[in-house]
C-alpha cells in the first residue's frame, strides 16, 4: 500500500455545485434561444411496415417546417462511435427511409412557433403505408425460418453484410477445451436464465437545441454522455467540417447509459434547424423516451463443470439477446458479456457463443452494467446452485474460484485484457459475512413461518474504463486543459460528462490534490464545449474517475511542473527544492523553499506576478490513455422476507461491500452504491417493459403510471443499508482510485434471488421475481408435495 496523507481525497464532500438543489442548474431543455422553433415528432403507429409516401404539405400550409425520410441525408451510420469503425455495425439513417422497424420509431418531425402548433401541424401529415408485417417480438419468432427480414443488409465498417435469419451479429470465443473440462468434472449442471428488458427511466428525457450559425456551422446543446462523439457524428451525417460544429457540455438529468450513443432526436433537431434556418428546440415527452431506448435483455444457457472439492473445470455459456429494431452496440455487448462471464471465476476451460437478434421492439442499448447484471444473474445463481449440490458454503465456493489479484481480466470483452493489481474480493466476502451475520443463516427446509426470512450473497464487478496495455476494439482516452487563474484559483476544461454521480466533483478533487488548491477554488462545472476542450470518449464503462480522473491528474501534474519551474525563478532556487502545499487558513496553495515555510508565496501571488509581468498563463493541455481498466468489485448480502400468503418480498436489511481502491468522495461513492441497489431492486423484483403481442406497442403506453420503479419506501431503512469499503489501492489509478457506478448494480439481482431461495427453497431463473411468480411457484411446490405424499 502506498497510502499518502491527502488534503482533499477521501474527505466527505461539501456541496459546492448546488444548482441541482436550488433548481438553477440548466439542462438541455432549459436552453432557450430568441426566435427558436419548437419541434415534435410523429412516431410510427406500426411495428414493421413499408413507408410508401410521407406527405406533409398540409402541415407546411399551417406554418410548420417539416422533415421526413426524403429530407434526411442518405448516410447510414451507427449512433455510437465508441468502438473502432471496423467493428461498428451501421444500420440506420436519421429517419427511416424504406420502412419502420418498431412501433414508436421517429418518422417525421415538425417545428413551429409553439409545441402546440407543431403538434397540430403534425396531425395533418399523411402517410401511405405499403406492406405490413406482424411484429417479431421474441427471439424464437425473429429467428424462425419464415420470419420476415427486418433488415436485408447492414454495414460492418465499410463492408456490406447480408442479414440472415434476423441475426444482427454473433460472437464466439473458446479458451481451452470445454469438452475435456466437463469430462474431468464430478458434477455438471446446466440451467437457462432470462433477464428482461427494462427502461432507463432517467429523470431527464432526451432533448436538443440546435442553432444554425452565420458561418454555416451549428451549435448544439443536447443530452449526451460524450459531446465529442456527437460532434464527430453530426459532422459525418451533415457533411460539415468539425470546426463548424460546437457541442455544448450541459448537465445531464441522469442517463444510466442511454446517452452513450448520440440520441436519436439530436440529428432530427439538427436537420430541422438546418432546414428552417432557425434555432430549433426538441424536448422528448416521456412516451417519446420510452419508445427510444431500453436495457438489453439476455437469455443464457449456462453449463458448468465442477470437481467434488469445488474446483471448476469448464463452463459453456450460450447467450441470446433480442436487440429491437436497431443495432446500437450489440457486437461489443456480446464481447463484454463474454468478458464479465470469463472474469468472474476461474472456469479453466471456456466456450462462449453469443447471438444478437433483431426484433420489432424498441432499440436496446447499454444500461448500467452493459450486460453485467444480466450475465451475473446467471453466474451468481449458478454458484449457489453448485454450492448446494457440493454441500459447500456459497462463500467458500466463491473464495475458491474467484478471479483476483495477479489474474487476467477481460475489461471490455476478449480484446481488452489486463492483469488485476488490486482486489478486495476476499476481504469483502469475509467481512461482509460478519456484518451480515451469515453464520446465523439457516437452510430453507427448516423454515415454516408465514413470513420466511432468507439471506443471499452475490458478488460482481465492473471494469473501470476500457483501456488495456494494447488498445482493443474500444476507443478510450480523455484529456483536459488546466490553467491557474490570475488569483490562484484553477480552471479545469474537460469534455468529460458527469452523469449525476459526482464525477466533476471527483475530478475537481483530484486537481485540488495535485495543485494543493482548495477544492472550492476549482472551476469545472460550466462553460465547456467541444471547441474549448480536447477529446474525451464518453462517460461510460465506469471510467469517469479512473480515466477522466487519470487524465486530469496527468495534466495537473504538468501544470504543477510549470508552476514550480516558474516559481523557482522567483525564489532563485531549484524547482526540486520547493514545496507545494495547501494552507487552509489562507485558502490558498503556497510554495516555499524546503525547510523555510515562513518564506512562502501563495500561488495566487505567483500567478498574478506571471500575469503582470506578461510572463504568460500557467497552463497545460493534453490527453491521456489509461493502459488498464481495473475491476472494481462489489458484494451484496441481502436479507429478504417472503410473505408466503401473498408472494410479496421485503428487504429489511442489506450489507454492501465495495472495492474502488482509494475513494475520492466517500459520500457520493456511498450514494452510487445505494442508488444502484434501488435500481437493482427494480431489476430483480419489479420492472419489465411488456409488449402487446399483436401490435408491438408498450403495454405501459410509455407512461410512468404503469411502469413502476421502486420508491424510497421499497428500500430498507437507511440505517439498515450497511455500506463498507474494502481496503485496497489501485496502483494504476489516480491516487489509487478505481470506479464504482456499474459495479454497484451488477450483483443485486442474483443476491435477491439467492436470498429468496434461502427463504422458500424456490429457485427463480427469470427476472423480475414478482409476487405473482412467487405465489404461483409456492402453490406448485405445495401441490407437488401433496402429490408426493399421495394426497
Amino acid at each position: 500500500m502506498e497510502k499518502e496523507q491527502y488534503d482533499f481525497i477521501g474527505q466527505p464532500l461539501e456541496i459546492k455545485n448546488i444548482g441541482k438543489v436550488t433548481g438553477k442548474e440548466l439542462y438541455s431543455s432549459d436552453i432557450n434561444i430568441p426566435g427558436q422553433l419548437y419541434a415534435v415528432i410523429l412516431r410510427s403507429p406500426h411495428a414493421h411496415a413499408e413507408i410508401k409516401k410521407v406527405d406533409y404539405s398540409e402541415a407546411v400550409k399551417v406554418g410548420a417546417v417539416c422533415i421526413g425520410p426524403q429530407d434526411v441525408p442518405e448516410i447510414i451510420y451507427n449512433e455510437r462511435i465508441v468502438s473502432i469503425p471496423e467493428k461498428t455495425y451501421r444500420d440506420r439513417t436519421v429517419l427511416p427511409k424504406e420502412k419502420v422497424r418498431h412501433k414508436g420509431e421517429a418518422l417525421v418531425a415538425c417545428a413551429a412557433e409553439t409545441e402546440e402548433k407543431a403538434w397540430a401541424a403534425l396531425q395533418k401529415i399523411k402517410i401511405e403505408w405499403g406492406k405490413q408485417w406482424k411484429p417479431l417480438l421474441t427471439l424464437e419468432k425473429a429467428l424462425s425460418d419464415d420470419a420476415p427480414p427486418i433488415y436485408d443488409w447492414v454495414y460492418l465498417g465499410e463492408e456490406k453484410l447480408k442479414v440472415k435469419n434476423n441475426i444482427a451479429c454473433e460472437r464466439n470465443i473458446e479458451v481451452g477445451d470445454v469438452e475435456e473440462g466437463f469430462r474431468e468434472a464430478d458434477i455438471v449442471i446446466e440451467k437457462t436464465f432470462h433477464t428482461q428488458r427494462v427502461y432507463h427511466m432517467q429523470f431527464e428525457t432526451k432533448s436538443a437545441v440546435c442553432v444554425p450559425e452565420a458561418d454555416g456551422g451549428i451549435t448544439v446543446w443536447t443530452t449526451s454522455q460524450g459531446i465529442h462523439n456527437v460532434r464527430i457524428l453530426l459532422g459525418n451525417i451533415f457533411n460539415l467540417p468539425l470546426s463548424k460544429i460546437n457541442i455544448k457540455r450541459i448537465t445531464l438529468g441522469g442517463s444510466f447509459g442511454s446517452s452513450i450513443q448520440m440520441n436519436s432526436i439530436t440529428p432530427i433537431c439538427v436537420a430541422l434547424a438546418l432546414k428552417a434556418k432557425k434555432p430549433v428546440k426538441l424536448v422528448s415527452s416521456r412516451e417519446d423516451d420510452f419508445y427510444d431506448h431500453a436495457k438489453y435483455p439476455l437469455k443464457t444457457i449456462l453449463k458448468v463443470g465442477v470437481k467434488k472439492d469445488g474446483t471448476f473445470t469448464a463452463a459453456h455459456c450460450r447467450v441470446w439477446v433480442e436487440i429491437g429494431g436497431h443495432n446500437i452496440q450489440a457486437y461489443p455487448y456480446l464481447g463484454c458479456v463474454a468478458g464479465w462471464f470469463a472474469s468472474l471465476y476461474k472456469w479453466k476451460n471456456i466456450k462462449y457463443e453469443g447471438t444478437a437478434v433483431y426484433t420489432n421492439k424498441v432499440p436496446t442499448c447499454a444500461m448500467q452494467g452493459y450486460g453485467n447484471p444480466q450475465i451475473n444473474f446467471a453466474v451468481e445463481s449458478m454458484i449457489d446452485i453448485l454450492a448446494e449440490e457440493l454441500k459447500m458454503d456459497p462463500i467458500n465456493l466463491r473464495l475458491k474460484n474467484y478471479v483476483g489479484k495477479g489474474d487476467e481480466f477481460w475489461g471490455q470483452g476478449p480484446t481488452v485484457r489486463s492483469i488485476i493489481r488490486s482486489c478486495g474480493v476476499e476481504e469483502m466476502l469475509l467481512e461482509g459475512a460478519k456484518l451480515a451475520q451469515w453464520e446465523k443463516r439457516v437452510p430453507h427446509y427448516q423454515k415454516k413461518e408465514v413470513i420466511r426470512k432468507g439471506m443471499g450473497v452475490a458478488r460482481g464487478f465492473h471494469t473501470s474504463g476500457t483501456g488495456g496495455p494494447n488498445p482493443g476494439e474500444v476507443i478510450d482516452y480523455s484529456g483536459a486543459t488546466i490553467k491557474i487563474n490570475e488569483d490562484g484559483s484553477v480552471d479545469v476544461l474537460t469534455a468529460l460528462m458527469d452523469l449525476g454521480g459526482g464525477t466533476w466533483d471527483a475530478l475537481a478533487k483530484i486537481v485540488a490534490e495535485v495543485l494543493k488548491v482548495p477544492f472550492e477554488k476549482i472551476g469545472i462545472y460550466n462553460g465547456i464545449d467541444t471547441r474549448s476542450t480536447v477529446f474525451d470518449v464518453n462517460t461510460h464503462a465506469t471510467r469517469g474517475v479512473y480515466c477522466g480522473g487519470g487524465a486530469v491528474k496527468f495534466v495537473a501534474e504538468k501544470v504543477k511542473e510549470i508552476l514550480l519551474n516558474y516559481a523557482a525563478t522567483l525564489f532563485k532556487d531549484l524547482p526540486e527544492n520547493l514545496v507545494l502545499s495547501c494552507n487552509k487558513e489562507l485558502g490558498q496553495a503556497i510554495i516555499y523553499p524546503r525547510e523555510i515555510p515562513e518564506n512562502y508565496k501563495t500561488i495566487g501571488e505567483i500567478a498574478e506576478y506571471a500575469h503582470t509581468t506578461s510572463w504568460g498563463t500557467l497552463a497545460y493541455t493534453s490527453t491521456l490513455r489509461q493502459k488498464n481498466c481495473p475491476p472494481c468489485f462489489i458484494t451484496h448480502f441481502v436479507e429478504v422476507e417472503v410473505n408466503t400468503r401473498t408472494g410479496e418480498v421485503k428487504i429489511p436489511r442489506v450489507v454492501i461491500m465495495g472495492d474502488s481502491g482509494t475513494i475520492i468522495n466517500p459520500n457520493l461513492w456511498e450514494g452510487q452504491i445505494i442508488g444502484a441497489f434501488s435500481r437493482g431492486l427494480g431489476f430483480g423484483l419489479l420492472e419489465e417493459t411488456d409488449y402487446h403481442p399483436e401490435d408491438g406497442s408498450l403495454r405501459c403506453k410509455g407512461l410512468v403510471t404503469d411502469y413502476k420503479i421502486p420508491t424510497t419506501l421499497e428500500m430498507p431503512k437507511i440505517e439498515d443499508i450497511i455500506v463498507r469499503s474494502a481496503h485496497t489501492y489501485e496502483p494504476t489509478g489516480p491516487f489509487g482510485a478505481k470506479g464504482i457506478g456499474e459495479a454497484a448494480l451488477s450483483s443485486v439481482g442474483p443476491a435477491i434471488a439467492n436470498a429468496i431461495y434461502n427463504a422458500i427453497g424456490i429457485r427463480f431463473y427469470e427476472l423480475p421475481i414478482t409476487p405473482e411468480k412467487i405465489l404461483k411457484s409456492l402453490q406448485e411446490k405445495e401441490e407437488n408435495l401433496r402429490k408426493r405424499r399421495g394426497e
Binding site: 415534435v40 412516431r43 403507429p45 414508436g104 409545441e115 402546440e116 403538434w119 397540430a120 424536448v283 415527452s285 416521456r286 412516451e287 417519446d288 419508445y291 400468503r645 401473498t646 408472494g647 410479496e648 419489479l686 411488456d690 403495454r699 405501459c700 403506453k701 410509455g702 407512461l703 403510471t705 404503469d706 413502476k708 420503479i709 421502486p710 420508491t711 419506501l713 421499497e714 409476487p771 405473482e772 405465489l775 404461483k776 402453490q779
Partner: protein, 296 residues
C-alpha cells in the same frame, strides 16, 4: 401516439365563484363536451393520453360553498375538498379509519394536495381507492343541477368503467357520510406494485359488532371487476353470526369466489383471486378487532 408534455386541445375555461353559476354553465353547455375540473389529477391525464375532447372546462375550485367539510352527525364533504385536507382531519382518522387509510394509500402528497374525494368517485375507476371505504360507511352523494337536487347512495352511482349515472347538467356537490354505528370496526387494505400505485386490489370492510356477534357487515373490493364490487355472499356468511376465525376464513374464501378480476398491466386474474382471499381475511380480522371483538 400522445404527447404528455402539453395539452393539445383548445377549450373554453370557466372559473365560477358560486354553485349556481357553475350549474348555469353546465345547463347552458349540456349538449357540448363539458367537463368539471376539480383536482385535475385524472382529467388532465385523460385529456392528454386518451384525447378526451373538452369544449368547456369548468373549474370548481373557487366555489366556497363546496370547499368545506361539515362535521354534524357524520361528515359532509364538499366537491372541492382536497384529499390532503381530509387526511389531516382528526374525525376522518378516528371515526373513519378505512377512509383515512384509503386516502393515504393514494399516490404522493403532491397529488393528494390537488385531488378531491368527489373527483375520485366521479372518475369511476374500478381501482378508485376511496370508493370501497365510502361504500362501507354507507356514503351518499348529493347531486345538484339547475333543476334541483337528489341524494343517492354511492353504491348506485357508478355504472361501469369510468361511467356514472350523472346527467350532463348535474354535478356531485357533496359526499354525505352518516355517523358510524357505535361498535363499527372498519379497515382498508391495498396491494400495489410499489407504495405509490394504482391498486392491484384494494378493499374495505366494516363490521358492526354486538357482543360476539357480527350485527351487520360490508365487504367491498376494488380492481376486481368493472366497478367496485360488494361481496354480498361473503357478507351473508358473517351477518348475524358469532365471529370466529374459521368463519372469517370461509367468508374470505367466498369473497374470492365472488370477484371477477382480469389480467392487466398491473397483475393477473389468477394472482388477484388468491390475493383477494388473503386480503379479505386479514382485513376482516383487523376490522373485528377494531370493533372491539375478541380474536378466537
Amino acid at each position: 401516439m400522445h404527447n404528455t408534455r402539453f395539452l393539445t386541445q383548445e377549450f373554453e375555461y370557466f372559473v365560477p365563484h358560486t354553485l349556481s353559476e357553475a350549474l348555469d354553465l353546465l345547463f347552458t353547455y349540456q349538449d357540448k363536451r363539458t367537463k368539471i375540473l376539480a383536482g385535475g389529477t385524472d382529467l388532465l391525464v385523460k385529456m392528454k393520453t386518451l384525447g378526451i375532447g373538452v369544449d368547456y372546462l369548468i373549474n370548481i375550485n373557487e366555489i366556497s360553498e363546496i370547499k368545506n367539510v361539515e362535521l354534524d352527525k357524520g361528515l359532509k364533504i364538499g366537491a372541492a375538498v382536497k384529499l390532503s385536507q381530509l387526511e389531516k382531519m382528526k374525525a376522518v382518522k378516528e371515526e373513519y379509519p378505512a377512509l383515512y387509510e384509503g386516502i393515504t394509500s393514494m399516490a404522493a402528497i403532491a397529488i393528494r394536495n390537488m385531488a378531491t374525494l368527489v373527483g375520485n368517485i366521479c372518475n369511476a375507476s374500478p381501482a378508485g381507492d376511496t370508493i370501497p371505504p365510502l361504500v362501507v360507511y354507507g356514503a351518499k352523494l348529493r347531486i345538484v343541477s339547475k333543476k334541483g337536487e337528489r341524494v343517492i347512495p354511492l353504491e348506485d352511482f357508478i355504472s361501469g368503467v369510468g361511467e356514472t349515472i350523472l346527467k350532463r347538467d348535474e354535478l356531485v356537490s357533496q359526499v354525505i357520510i352518516p355517523e358510524p354505528y357505535k361498535d363499527l370496526g372498519s379497515a382498508f387494505c391495498k396491494k400495489g406494485r410499489v407504495k405509490a400505485d394504482i391498486a392491484k386490489i384494494n378493499l374495505a370492510v366494516g363490521i358492526e359488532r354486538d357482543g360476539d356477534i357480527c350485527r351487520d357487515c360490508r365487504i367491498v373490493l376494488g380492481s376486481v371487476f368493472s366497478k367496485t364490487l360488494r361481496a354480498y355472499k361473503s357478507e351473508e356468511i358473517l351477518r348475524g353470526k358469532v365471529i370466529k376465525d374459521d368463519l372469517i376464513i370461509s367468508a374470505a374464501k367466498r369473497a374470492a369466489e365472488e370477484i371477477k378480476p382480469i389480467d392487466d398491466v398491473r397483475s393477473t386474474a389468477e394472482y388477484r383471486n388468491e390475493l383477494a382471499r388473503v386480503m379479505v381475511e386479514d382485513t376482516l380480522h383487523i376490522a373485528w378487532e377494531r370493533a372491539g371483538g375478541k380474536r378466537w
